[in-house]
């Protein structure tokens, strides 16, 4: 059974079995598992919406663009669960994360120090003014 992150395949246009079979055979693996204990995988070539991720024998269409180096869930992850990369925790999930879903600052927070983003900075300056 497909994970809840997968949109209705009817919404996926420009999708062809031939094209994806070709891509699977002719491109290096798109996802890298850095450690056997990891629950996230690293995207090693930027993926566009509707391309297919291959995870645990399942094909999961990409929802939003996944730039090179970004992470996706290797399995469903619950709120508060540790995110494991390089075999060590890199923070905790702040939302339910489905298999294949993008894992980033919107659903993962540091257990040490808050992550500072440019959007936060501009809001800070607006408030000051």
């Amino acid at each position: 059974m497909l994970s809840p992150a997968v949109p209705d395949l009817n919404e996926v246009d420009e999708w062809s079995l031939e094209r994806n079979l070709f891509l699977m055979k002719n491109t290096p693996p798109q996802l890298l598992r850095l450690h056997s204990a990891d629950n996230v995988l690293t995207v090693i070539a930027t993926m566009e919406p509707k391309e297919l991720l291959e995870i645990e024998g399942m094909q999961v269409p990409v929802r939003n663009r996944l730039p090179i180096g970004h992470k996706v869930a290797a399995r469903a992850i619950g709120v508060g669960e540790k995110i494991i990369k390089y075999g060590v925790p890199i923070g905790s999930a702040t939302a339910e994360i489905a298999l294949g879903e993008h894992v980033h600052t919107h659903n993962l927070k540091s257990d040490y120090l808050p992550t500072f983003e440019r959007e936060t900075q501009s809001r800070f300056f607006e408030e000051k003014i």
Binding site: I68, Y86, L113, R118
Partner: protein, 395 residues
């Protein structure tokens, strides 16, 4: 390889004239002095502050007596707090040509510039007599720093530098990694690599100090570009950065300006000691590179995913690009394309060996990409440090 022998026994891979402004008010005059010589190994360095600071003094003292430096001209406005005569005496004691220009005494901007340029001409003649001797890999001090990191940094360029670091350490060189704020989350793993029992608690203390310092500042050593590049948390960035240290045992902890007493792998502690009072410990990558050079680094291995273009005065910066998409955009600024690991173009081991060979070629005189493009950045700030504790250095 050949090197320039200095009176303290260290050997340089470059023979640079350093022109040093001792306060921001002398910066323009110093820059003008350097201008006609900018492609002749005459580099501009300096410190902006008017008020004295022991760390800033030590940084300039170490930079001016770095083995890559053959002569030094100090440029003072005249009223700043920097102890210029003590610095001049220390440099002269090493046998290097050194002199001091005081703009207020010299008669202003133009006279100081003319005087400074004449001095450089004569210093360059004297520097031609520097003894040239054999230079071995075991003479090298190599630093590493990452800047403009993204999530590819920790899977290509950083582990490849780690492999090169292992080889440098195995061949007797000193290798220095730094940025204790970017080791937050890795402290236990790192302490397990201490070469001596007494060093392990010091490594933990070092990261604990960084965590406290950054917590007081409100956020970690994490730029918005890091998140755009796929890094989500400080711990994730730390794990990626930590790979640069390779797998050798850690021989000791240094603070800015401490020269490694022997070969081996060292952690450079860059977070000030004492209460939080000097602002951000690493205001930018250039300042971090400067601290590595003050520890005697002949070259700095700079890994980048987002794509930094920086270089440095005094010691060459070798840039290793982690991200193949970035490499295609910024290839003229890069020395090594580690991103091809992700595209099946090379293995981690091949890129590690390429980095090692590149260092040997740059140490033999080949300009790095940033050197060839004329990069000579330098930034020295206010900080304060206690000396390293017992147990931090090999005996």
């Amino acid at each position: 390889m050949k090197g320039y022998l200095r009176s303290d026994g260290r050997k340089g891979i470059r023979n640079v004239v350093a022109v040093v402004y001792l306060v921001e008010c002398a910066h323009h005059v110093a820059r003008e002095i350097v201008l006609p010589f900018r492609e002749q190994q005459v580099h501009l360095i300096g410190f902006s502050g008017c008020y004295p600071n022991a760390y800033a003094y030590r940084m300039l003292q170490r930079l001016c007596t770095h083995p890559n430096v053959g002569a030094t001209l100090l440029v003072s406005l005249g009223c700043e707090g920097f102890n210029r005569s003590a610095l001049l005496d220390e440099i002269r004691a090493t046998g290097r040509p050194a002199d001091l220009l005081v703009i207020q005494q010299e008669g202003g901007t133009r006279r100081s510039i003319d005087q400074g340029r004449r001095w450089i001409e004569s210093a360059k003649e004297q520097m031609e007599r520097t003894p040239i001797v054999d230079f071995f890999v075991s003479d090298l001090v190599v630093g590493t720093v990452c800047g403009g990191s993204d999530a590819t940094s920790g899977i290509t360029a950083n582990p490849a530098v780690g492999l090169a670091f292992d080889r440098f350490v195995a061949e007797g060189a000193a290798a220095i990694f730094e940025e204790s704020g970017e080791l937050i989350g890795c402290e236990q793993v790192m302490a397990g690599r201490a070469a001596r029992a007494a060093l392990a608690p010091e490594l933990l203390r070092c990261v604990d100090k960084a965590a406290r310092y950054y917590t007081a500042l409100g956020h970690g050593s994490f730029a918005p570009g890091n998140a755009e590049g796929g890094l989500s948390t400080q711990e994730e960035k730390s794990m990626g950065a930590y790979c640069k240290s390779g797998n050798s045992p850690i021989s000791g902890i240094l603070k800015p300006g401490d020269v490694p007493p022997q070969g081996g792998l060292y952690l450079l502690d860059v977070v000030p000691d004492g209460e939080v009072r000097w602002g951000f410990p690493n205001i930018n990558d250039v300042q971090e590179i400067g601290e590595l050079i003050a520890c005697g680094c002949h070259v700095t291995l700079f890994t980048t995913g987002r794509g930094s273009v920086v270089g440095s005065a005094i010691s060459p910066v070798i840039k290793i690009c982690a991200n193949p998409e970035t490499y295609r955009r910024l290839s003229e600024d890069m020395d090594v394309n580690a991103g091809r690991i992700l595209e099946g173009g090379a293995t981690l081991e091949e890129v590690g060996a390429e980095i090692f060979e590149k260092v040997v070629r740059v140490a033999s005189g080949e300009p790095s990409a940033s050197e060839a493009l004329g990069h000579q950045e330098c930034a020295v700030v206010y900080k304060s440090f206690e000396p390293v504790g017992p147990g931090c250095l090999p005996v």
